[in-house]
Amino acid sequence: MLILFAVMLAGAIVLWVAVNGMMLFFNRISTRHYDESAARKLIIGGGIVFPTIVIAALLAWGLSIMPDQRAPGDGLRIKVIGEQWWWRVEYWPEGAETPIVAANEIRLPVGARTEFNLTSAYVIHSFWIPALGGKMDMFPGRETMVSLEPTETGVYRGQCAEFCGASHAQMAFEVVTLDTADFDTWLAAEAAPAMAPEGAKAQRGAQVFLAEGCGACHAIRGTEAVGEVGPDLTHVGSRESLGAGVLEPTMANIADWIAHTDDLKPEVEMPAYDDMPDDDLMALATYLKGLK
């Protein structure tokens, strides 16, 4: 990633210096009259031959690394389904019979190639993590594939890259790349059921969650909440963003999100709970934030 950036930056600097250097040279330093054949040589050489060579080389390099994105993975498969406007994520470790279900965030091991099986529920989306590779469209009723091999740990942003409706711009996600050992630890935790709420406020939040019927749409594994309409919230408290890349996952933002979903994400399927008392909202936020 950094190498690619460094190469492109170095090339850009060379070209910038060359173009501006020549402009300076011919305008200020060597202002004598040139004959037509010399000018023609310069234009053909600098305007046609040189760019053709540079672009052909870049194209050859680009084409040579493109097949990598379709190379088979090293074992882990991640199925991502584009929803309106969020990401349903399923981790399928090698040999798994049932997936580990998550949403709106993707974690990847560094140094291994992970295969993504992409599809969509309603309309065409496009799956893009610019820092890790090219984009790939997601179609309803069809599966596309891309594989990515991160080389460094970090947090990157992913984004839907195909206009998909009112909240297309609010359809993003965070990508967290981890060392293999950290990733395995994380995946084992992600596969586990939700932690029991700790403290009176979180416990009250858990009661509010069930009483208000949040579980009709959201699953929290290990509780009676089994809904599949919206994102799985079993470990929502460990995610790096809220509402599919819309907000920082602070408690105040969680409460704000529940009460004002459609202001923060126009036309979102989740109804706004704007009648919910502030106490209940904060209890819910405390509970959800604690679901690490």
Partner: protein, 353 residues
């Protein structure tokens, strides 16, 4: 040509002066006692008949009027809303409607000559300048029980039939004053055998309170219940909600559905939902965990009522209390088959509050 135009202009000016004299000068006598000029009632009545025949929905829109509970529900609403002008089978009109112009006809006369689709249109739309009001709701499917009743009147319903259909139960000691009015349909216990009328004994008080207020102010759309709830004061409505919420739910389930596959499909959908349909039981039960008291309970409810309401939700015309927006979203992707299965399963569950 010029002469013709001048004549027309002069006539127009004269007409304007004459019209102004009538409107602003009070020349026309609006007295109901004096009545119309000769011939005018015939013109108006003929216009009325032909207008109804032109605008009525097609006969194919008429549902099964012999469905269980249809005539009874229509009769009960008639008793509260229509009898005041049209009288009931076997009764004479009281004095006031007989001195209206036009006089509302006795119901046995009023229904003659009309087809069910035409009766639906008259009840739905009302008749301008006749005193006949239009149906006080956007939703018009609940007019059909009224049409079924009118059809039964046409077929010769007796005074005794009518009295049996509209009898009000005796008020138990300590019950709200307004209870007999509600109990005509819902019974003192909140439980009725009429599949078109929901049982109320399974509902929590907060839900009943919100629902009655929503009916009264029209935010829940129903011509029948809007009329009923608007006749009772708000404090009486709250008292009634408390009464029905305190009823015993133990005589549980009246469902006679035997299609096991349909019930099984309903159970799977209700308990788990799909990626498009939320799990019903998370809000409505039956379930072990906590439930907010402003969500209605559905276990043991009438299958017909559940199905009717789910269609209203799915088609976007239901309305309700403060959480109605949730159900509007929840029901939007239900198919007719889903609705049949869910209604069958909930109706077959033991009632619980």
């Amino acid at each position: 040509m010029k002469r013709v135009l001048q004549t027309l202009a002069a006539l127009a000016v004269l007409g304007l002066i004459g019209g102004s004299a009538v409107v602003f000068g009070g020349l026309y006598n609006v007295s109901a006692r004096v009545g119309h000029f000769p011939g005018v009632p015939l013109i108006l009545h003929t216009t009325f008949i032909n207008s109804v025949k032109r605008h009525a929905p097609p006969e194919s829109a008429v549902p099964d009027l012999d469905g269980e509970g249809m005539v009874a529900l229509g009769a009960k609403h008639f008793d509260g809303g229509c009898k005041v002008c049209h009288a009931a089978p076997g009764q004479d009109r009281w004095a006031i409607p007989t001195v209206m112009v036009p006089a509302p006809p006795h119901i046995t006369d009023a229904v003659q000559e009309w087809q069910p689709n035409e009766l639906h249109w008259i009840v739905d739309e009302g008749v301008k300048m006749s005193g006949m009001p239009y149906w006080p709701a956007t939703r018009t499917d609940d007019i059909w029980p009224m049409v079924a009743f009118l059809d039964a009147v046409q077929d010769g319903m007796t005074g005794q039939n009518y009295a049996d259909l509209t009898a009000r139960p005796t008020r138990p000691d300590g019950a709200p004053e307004a209870l007999p009015y509600c109990a005509m349909c819902h019974d003192n216990s909140g439980r009725t055998d009429n599949p078109l009328i929901p049982r109320l004994d399974i509902q929590p008080q907060a839900y009943l309170e919100q629902t009655l207020l929503a009916y009264a102010d029209g935010s829940r759309d129903s011509g029948i219940m809007h009329v009923a709830a608007s006749r009772v004061t708000e404090s009486d409505l709250m008292e009634l909600a408390g009464w029905f919420a305190a009823q015993d739910t133990t005589p549980t389930t009246v469902s006679n559905i035997t299609d096991r596959d349909l019930i099984a499909r309903g159970e799977a959908l209700a308990a788990k939902g799909t990626r498009d349909v939320p799990a019903c039981t998370a809000c409505h039960g039956p379930k072990a965990g906590p439930r907010a008291s402003d969500f209605p309970r559905l276990a043991g409810q009438s299958v017909t009522f559940l199905s009717d309401q789910l269609h209203l939700w799915r088609d976007g015309a239901r309305g309700g209390g403060t959480k109605a927006n949730l159900m509007t979203k929840a029901a939007q992707d239900l198919s007719d088959g889903d609705i049949a299965a869910l209604s069958a399963w909930f109706a077959a569950q033991p009632a619980s509050r």
